[in-house]
Amino acid sequence: MTRARHASRVLDIGLGLSSCLLAMPASAEPNADVAQPMAEVAIVGVRPRRDATELKLTAEQARGETGTHDDPAKVIENLPGVGRAAFGSGQLLLWGADPQDSRVYVDGVEIPRLYHGSGIRSTVNGNLLQSVTLTPGAYGADYGRAIGGMVRLETRELSDDYHASVELSVLDASVFTSAQLSSRVRLGLGGRYGLLDRSLRLVNAPDIAEFFAVPRYHDYQAKMQVALRERESLDVVLLGSGDESERIVSNSDPARVRRASDSQGFERLYLRYRRTLSDGSNVQVVPWIGRDTSRSDLSFGANPALLEQRALRFGLRAEHRSRLASNLILSLGTDVAGSRADLDRRGSLTIPAREGDLAVFGQPPGDDSNVDTWQTMLLDLAPYATLDWDLGPLTVTPGLRIDGYLLETSRNTPKVGQTPSIGQSSLRAALEPRVGIRWRVSSRVSLLAAAGVYSQPPAAQDLSAVFGTPTLGPETALHASIGESVELARRLSLSVTGFYRALTDLAVRDPSPTPRLAGALLDTGTGRSYGVQLLLQQRLWRGFSGSLAYTLSRSERRDTPNADTRLFDGDQSHVLVVQGSQSLAEWTLGARVRYTTGIPKTPIVGAFFDEKRDSHQPIFGALNSQRLPSFWQLDLRVDRRFQVSQAAVLLAYLELLNATNHANAEEYVYSQDYARRGTVTGMPFVAVFGVRLEL
C-alpha cells in the first residue's frame, strides 16, 4: 500500500491534461536535489474531464495542513476563492456566493453540508476520502443545480489488505477499518463521535453554553467495493451524519429566557457502477437515495420559532465518456435529482433571518407569529453533453446542460379553516451553455478561461404560502473566469484567476408594507461578485511545502430594481491565507496565518422604546454600510510519527489555534438601549491534541 509519509501540499489547479494525482511515495525522503519520482495512478481509458477553475488535493496531502485537525475537507479554508466562515457556522463562502447556493458532493452524490454544524469537522470521515476538489464557480455541464460553487469529495479505493485507523482527539473519536472479504469484495466501515461537550465538562466550563452552542455530532460510513468483471466495478456506499446543539439563557423574567436547540442529519445510500469498455470509453452510473432532516427550535420568552424539514432525496447520475477522434472526447450524461419535503414552521416571519435582513445580533424576533405546514416536490432532470477538443496547445471544452424543473407545493394560499388546499405545480426549463478553454502558451505558462449559465430551484422553505411564495421559480447566474498559471520553478507555481458572477431572479423579501397574499418573497433580487484570486504554491522542497492564497473580491446585491445596490452579507474584500510546514525527520512543524476583511454590518443610528415589550428597538442606518474589524489568526501545528511496529504507525499532533489569543470580533452586540456597542469575539486560544493509529 502506498502511503504518503511526508504529506506535501500539491494543488492540481486544473491546467494539466494528465489525470494522475501527485503524491510522495512512502519510501522517498524529501530532497530538493534529487527529482522525486511521483506515484502515478493510471486511469485506463478516457481521461476524466477537468474544470478550468478546480483545485484538487489528495486527502493525505490535505489532512497534514495546519488548521485541519487531521481532517482533509477542512483544507478548503486554506484555498483561494473561499471566504472565512463565521465562527461556528461551517458555511461555504465561494466567490462571494450565499452558502446556500453552493453544493457538496461525495462521488457525485449531493450531501447537504460539508461540515458538522459547528464547522469543526467534516461530515465524511477523512479516512474514506481519496481527494478533495474545490470549484468555486464556472464549472462544466456535468454539475448544476447551484448558482454558487461546489466542493467534491471522492471516496478512496479500498485496499486489498487489512487497514484500520483509530483517531482520538479532544474534539472527537473516530475509527475506520477496511478489509478484503473475498477476491472480489472489499468492505470499509467507519464512524465518528463528537466529544467536545464532554471535554468542556471536564475542564469545568459550565457557562460556555450560554455563549456558544456546544455541538454534539456523529457520522458513519460504509463502503463495499465489488469487482464485477475486468474494468467493471460496483461500489455500495452508505453515509450518515447527525448534529445536535442546545443553548439556554436563563432569566428571572420568563419573557427574557432564550432557548435554542438545533438538530440536523442526513443519510445517503448510493451505488456507483463503473465500467471501461473495450473501446476505451467509460460508463458511470450512480443511483442514490437519502434523507435530510433539520430542526431549529428557538424560543424567545413565549415566542416560538420553529422550522422543521424532513426530505426524501433521490437522484441518478449517469455518464458515458468516449473518444470520438484522437483529439475529441464526448461526454453524454444525465443528472437527475428529486426531493420530497415536509415542512413545519411556526413563529415570526423574520426568524430565521435571510440574507440582507435588517437585523442585529441578539435582537429577539418580532411579536408577530404564524404557522404553516406544507409539502414540496422538486424534481430536476438535466441531460448534458460536453466535448473536450484538443487543438494543439489549445483545448476547448464546450458543454450544454438543460435543467428541466418540476416544482410542486401543496398549498398556494394560506390555510383558512378547514378549506382544502389547492396546490401549485409548474414546469420550468433552463438552457445552460458552458465553455472552458485552456491554452498552453509554453511548457511553463498556461492560460485558461471558463464561462457558463447556471440555475438552481427555489429552496423548499421558501415555498410556504405564509412565510414565502409558492410560485417562486429557479434562480439563475452567469459565471466567467480567466486566469493563468505559471511554473516559476520546478516546484514553485503561481496561478492568478479573475472571476465574475452575475445573479438574477434571487428570492428576496417583499419590501412593500402591503405584500401580496402568499407573496412574502419576490424573485426580483439580483447580484454580482467579482474579483481576483492568487495562489502561490511551493511543493515539497527540502522538507518544506507551503502556499499563499489571496482573494480580492466584492459581492453585491440589489433586492428590487429600484433599490440601492448593497454589499452582500458575507462580502470579504481581502482573504489571505499563508501556510507552510517543514518536515524534520519524524517531526513536522506547521504554521498558518489568516487575514480577512470584516464582514459588512448595518450600523445602528438610534433607538426607540417599545413600551409593550419594555425594551428598546434599534434604528438602522444604511444596510451593510459598515464592517466588523478585520480578522486575523495564527495557527501552529506540530506532529510526530511513531513507527510502533512494522505494521503500525502512530501520528500524534497538536494544533494551537489562534495561538496569540487574538480577540477577533464576530458580531457587534449592543446594550439594551443601543447606546453602547461591544463585540462578541470568536474562538479564543484553543489547543487541539489528537492521535491517529494506522494499522
Binding site: R346, S348, V371, D510, E611, Q617, F685
Partner: protein, 300 residues
C-alpha cells in the same frame, strides 16, 4: 491520571469567557426624562372606539415638558424586525392625537386593515397576530430630550383565517382584555417588612408586588397549528426602574403556567442617604398594564 487528562483538556479552552461581550447594562437605571410606560383604558378596543392613554414619565416634578401623542398609520414591511415600521419614525405616517400626560383619542378605523387580519382588498397579505392572537395599533409618544416611545394598543379584530363556525364561536367567547391592577409595593430586609421611607443605607431590600388572580385572565385563543379554539392564561411581567441604588434585575415575571401572583426584585440601597424614585410597571401578555411610582427613602 485524571488530573493529567484534565490538564490536557484544559488546553482546549483556555479562556472560555473570551466570547462574552463586556457591556455593563443597567437597563433599570433611569437618569433622564423618558416614557417608561403607557396605560390605555380600555386595554383592548375595536377600531373607532374612544380610548384614554396615560403615560408614566421619569420626569422631575418641576418639569413642564408634556408628551406629544401620534398614531402611526404605516404597517411594518416584512423586511423589518422591529415592533413598528421605520416609517413611524418620520412624520409622514403620523396622525396627531394631542399633548399631555394623558390624552383621549378615537382609534383609527383602519386598524384591522393596516395592522390586523383584514388584508387590503385585492389579495394582499394580512398581518400576523402576536402569540396571544392580538393585533395592535401603534401610538407614538414623544418627550423632549428622549428617544421616541411606542405604545401598541390592542385592537379587537375578527378572526380572519378560521372557518366561519370557528370565527363565530370565537366572537362569542372571546373577552376583550382588561388592565391588571398592581397591589401596593412592599419592601423587606431579611424577611422583615419595612416601610419604603425607612430603608437602612446599604441594605439589600426585597421589593415585592402582587396582583389579583383575576388579573391573570384566561382568554380564548385560536390555535392555528391545530385549527381549534383553546383557552390560555395571560403571562405577567413586572418592569422595575429606579434612579439610584442598584436593582438586581430590570424585569421579572410569571409565565402562563405559573400560578404565582407576585414578582420580586432586590434593590441595594446606596451607602449615603437620600430619596430615590422607584417605578414599577405590571404588564399582561395581551398588552394591558398598570404602573406605580414610589419614593425609596434611605435613612442614615
Amino acid at each position: 491520571m485524571k488530573r493529567r487528562i484534565a490538564a490536557l483538556l484544559a488546553l482546549t479552552v483556555l479562556d472560555s469567557s473570551a466570547c462574552r461581550p463586556e457591556l455593563e447594562d443597567d437597563y433599570w437605571l433611569v437618569n433622564a426624562p423618558r416614557v417608561l410606560a403607557v396605560k390605555s383604558e380600555p386595554a383592548e378596543a375595536r377600531p373607532g372606539a374612544r380610548v384614554t392613554f396615560t403615560a408614566l414619565l421619569s420626569m422631575p416634578e418641576t418639569s413642564n415638558e408634556v408628551p406629544t401623542w401620534n398614531f402611526c398609520t404605516a404597517p411594518k414591511p416584512l423586511t423589518e424586525n422591529n415592533a413598528v415600521s421605520a416609517a413611524c419614525l418620520g412624520k409622514a405616517a403620523l396622525l396627531s392625537v394631542g399633548r399631555g400626560s394623558s390624552v383621549e383619542a378615537v382609534l383609527p378605523a383602519t386598524g384591522c386593515t393596516l395592522f390586523g387580519p383584514n388584508g387590503a382588498p385585492g389579495g394582499y397579505r394580512p398581518r400576523d397576530p402576536d402569540i396571544t392572537g392580538g393585533y395592535y395599533q401603534p401610538l407614538r409618544v414623544d418627550v423632549a430630550g428622549s428617544e421616541p416611545a411606542f405604545h401598541l394598543q390592542r385592537i379587537s379584530c375578527d378572526l380572519a383565517d378560521a372557518s366561519t363556525d370557528t370565527a363565530t364561536q370565537f366572537g362569542l367567547s372571546y373577552v376583550a382584555n382588561r388592565n391588571p391592577q398592581l397591589e401596593p409595593i412592599r419592601a423587606s430586609v431579611d424577611g422583615e417588612e419595612l416601610g419604603l421611607d425607612a430603608i437602612p443605607p446599604g441594605a439589600r431590600v426585597e421589593l415585592s408586588v402582587s396582583w389579583a388572580a383575576s388579573d391573570s385572565e384566561r382568554y380564548t385563543y385560536f390555535d392555528r397549528t391545530r385549527n381549534v379554539l383553546t383557552e390560555r392564561r395571560e403571562a405577567m411581567r413586572v418592569s422595575w426602574y429606579t434612579n439610584g441604588g442598584r436593582l438586581e434585575t430590570e424585569s421579572s415575571g410569571r409565565s402562563e403556567d405559573d400560578p404565582e401572583l407576585n414578582a420580586q426584585n432586590h434593590w441595594t440601597a446606596p451607602e449615603s442617604g437620600g430619596s430615590f424614585a422607584l417605578w414599577v410597571i405590571l404588564r399582561d401578555s395581551r398588552g394591558g398594564g398598570d404602573f406605580a411610582a414610589a419614593q425609596l427613602r434611605v435613612q442614615p
